[in-house]
Symmetry: C2
Subunit: 194 residues, 2 copies
């Protein structure tokens, strides 16, 4: 009764992991690559891919989960509970951006998947929650506005961070973009004037 809920699957686990790794690489380099290409990169047959993921879309979702986990880990490492809420928020936002930036094409691809809104929300819930709790901390401490919902503010912060990332890709200097983002966030989050 030692820890092995995964009965009988030493090689199966290996394959699954290899496929996921390969999918990360291959599909990020070419989002239109077929499962055959992924399989080859994983050192496995196409049919083995199907043995683990019934459909292309399911594989994509599994990859999405993986990126989400990376993101969560990066966020947690950025110490959401330390220091001023505003600083923490920016720090965590920045950390969360890294994995998505690392897998740009793949992120686009996954974002384009047909999705029921509920499942989508549930998928992003852990990320949204972490941000929302930073916002809540700021609201409790008086740093942030309490008239707007924490989840709204958290989501808005994410959007602005995305915009900043894209603006930067568009060629503006990182410093200028960083400053625009920071000022925008501070204005948006600022508590009501007395």
């Amino acid at each position: 009764m030692t820890a092995s809920a995964d009965n009988r699957r030493a090689d199966a686990r290996r394959s699954r992991a290899a496929i996921l790794d390969a999918a990360l690489d291959v599909l990020d380099a070419d989002p239109d690559a077929g499962l055959g290409t992924v399989a080859k990169a994983a050192g496995v047959t196409r049919q083995t891919v199907y043995a683990h993921f019934a459909t292309r879309e399911r594989l994509l979702w599994a990859v999405a989960d993986r990126i989400t986990e990376e993101t969560l880990a990066a966020m947690d490492e950025a110490e959401p509970d330390a220091g001023a809420a505003a600083d923490a928020l920016i720090r965590v936002l920045d950390a969360a951006a890294a994995p998505a930036r690392r897998h740009r094409a793949l992120t686009r691809l996954i974002g384009a998947l047909p999705v029921e809104p509920d499942a989508d929300r549930e998928r992003h819930a852990p990320i949204a929650d972490r941000l929302a709790s930073v916002v809540e901390r700021g609201q409790r401490s008086g740093e942030f506005d309490t008239r707007l919902r924490a989840d709204w503010l958290a989501a808005a912060a994410v959007r602005l961070a995305h915009l900043a990332a894209e603006t930067q890709e568009a060629g503006q200097t990182p410093a200028a973009v960083q400053q625009a983002l920071r000022m925008s966030l501070l204005k948006l989050l600022a508590p009501a004037a007395p």
Copy 2:
């Protein structure tokens, strides 16, 4: 030398328009539909589609252009130059949201297309420009903050409007979402405190 740069194409124009119309309908209902389905809906053969659009992707871009035009028209009808800048901005933003909402699935599909950042920016330029000039008007009149660039503020407003649309789809009451959006925009755009 009368206006007919489109030499020799009375029926060709008809077909092209029919195909575009059909693509709007069909692909919005089912983004995975094949070109055969589009052709049939247009009352045309698949090969005729290829005669007008060398590839599926090109057809999609043509559809995107069409939606962009719809959006521009809707924005212009919302009188960007009338009244207070903040009201105008919200009004125009709201008008711009309608076409995208009308073709939800299609918008997703197009958004997922592989795209060179430059081409993408150029494509959205007319929309961004209109919004930016409303922002500039507000900046000149002292309604808006001048420390942030007008194009940044315009883009930020678009993101927040998107967020509002999604939040509403997620089940929150339109009134609450509208209010959150309005308050957020006003805070973000507000001029620096003396």
